[in-house]
Amino acid sequence: MANLSLLLLQVGVILAAARGLGLLFRRIGQPQVMGEMVAGILLGPSLLGWAAPDVSAFLFPPASLGFLGSISQVGLLVFMFLVGLELDPRLLRGRTRTAVVTSHVSIAAPFFLGAALALYLYPRLSSDAVQFTGFALFMGAAMSVTAFPVLARILTERDLLRTRVGTVTIACAAVDDVTAWCILAGVVALVRSSDAGALPLWATLAGSAAFIVLMVLVGKRAFAGLERWYVRRGAITQDMLAVILLVALAAAAATELLGIHALFGAFLAGAVMPKGEAFMHALNEKLHDLTVVLLLPLFFAFTGLRTHVGLLEGGEMWAMCALIVLVAVVGKFGGSALAARATGMTWREAGALGVLMNTRGLMELVILNIGLDIGVISPALFAMLVLMALATTFMTSPLLEWIYPARLIRAAADDPHPERVELIV
């Protein structure tokens, strides 16, 4: 009972802090999720644990974090399912070439720079328990991710989806998401394959490839029946929702057993769900609010409780942190903008696309938590990368306003050519 009381208290404090800071950040022109992420960090050892250690020890004793972590993981599974659900091939319609080129360059450039940075960081922030290949590939993946959900929200709030920049960006982010998660799955498989008792790498890769093919070819066809069921009933019934959640959980369990992390399976299950607009809306409506309002802040808090900014002591470590932020921005912003310019956008449009693609948001936190869980990054490097995620997300709104101000968005939105894209995130 004492455990339940504590858990309820923890959830209440987290929820209040997340909503409060979320609203505050919205007032200063930031996406609400930015405030929720910061709230998580502030509840951890970086602020609460440092300023009021007794309160922190009472509220978040280490022994209690297992419950919180488990709930946040379930929430994250549902959230990743929703992110997968959002991926709609129609986003690429008429933009495939630009989206694929820009997206792949926007991954390749930061990935390369992240791996190059690993040459410097590996002897300083890693240990011989981690192989360089896994470390470098993870650094590359961490540098190249884009926050599709945050991006979608920014584009919607700024009415950018009626402009060419907005439609190309969301298409790029969709391709980015799929590519980055495939890369991450490979990295996780590589790192985990060296653990005692783990499946050999070839078995993980072959099993994962077979599972993906099964989901895309067989699963997709089978899940189309869900949409027909929905059309017959005119609503997502509780039975239908249970079936959909079972599919997501089974896919998550399968990829976890295969050694490429449960989140990948949940994402894949969402990606192969039927993409009829009414069905997607109805399903999203059932799951979205509880996940985003209650469960995601728990994940942010759990991340914050693992983020110890105090580990960054002295100029040397802060210099490393600044270098990580710099490399992340140069790689993602520079790579995306260069590719967008090369595919025919103006410099201003290309710059705006680069700024948007540079948003790491909570997807970065998801990836970093996986990295910490499998031991490929150390606690101090985790803290540095979390700061990088916050910095790149925070800089998006002001930089976008500077490069692509509202008056230009209004003018571009009057352009009849871009096709309007609807998003439900």
């Binding site: 792949h104 390749a108 290949t133 470098a136 470590m317 790579g335």
Partner: protein, 153 residues
């Protein structure tokens, strides 16, 4: 055709360079993995005056490369560094130093035999600015299963 060339240039070159980085990086040495729970074995001088009193009973080390955070006997986190096969962790003296040797500052040093027994630490505690307190030597063994995940090599 133009798109294909563009793609090959902007994606192909970084990917090729990445392969070079991975090859180059395999030659790099990272610090020895020391993270985990360390069980202190009976110090050589157990029962002989100050030695046994000063030697810690448990040692927990969190590691970020060469940067260490250590907790001695479940106490607060102390900062230290790893240089090659040697670790150094410093505990400053308590502000209220009336607790005698227990509140004195100390230097905890340790040496790993990386080739023969990487999970064994030969260590010592040296009180600093505490004339009445004696140094103590001890050995510690890393508990099985306390290495951080991913440390399976």
């Amino acid at each position: 055709m133009k798109s294909l060339l563009l793609y090959l240039a902007l994606v192909g070159i970084p990917v090729a360079a990445l392969l070079g980085i991975l090859r180059e990086g395999r030659g790099l040495d990272a610090p020895h993995d020391v993270a985990g729970e360390w069980r202190v074995e009976a110090p050589p001088g157990a029962g002989a005056g100050g030695q046994a009193e000063r030697a810690p009973r448990t040692l927990r080390i969190s590691q970020s490369g060469v940067y260490l955070t250590a907790s001695v006997d479940g106490g607060g986190e102390l900062r230290g560094r790893l240089r090659g096969d040697t670790l150094r962790v410093v505990r400053p003296a308590d502000e209220d130093a009336r607790g005698g040797c227990a509140s004195a500052g100390f230097l905890l040093y340790g040496i790993f035999d990386l080739a023969a027994e990487p999970d064994r630490l030969t260590a010592g505690v040296v009180p600093e600015n505490a004339p009445g307190c004696h140094p103590a030597a001890f050995t510690a063994v890393r508990e099985r299963g306390s290495r951080r995940p991913g440390a399976g090599r």
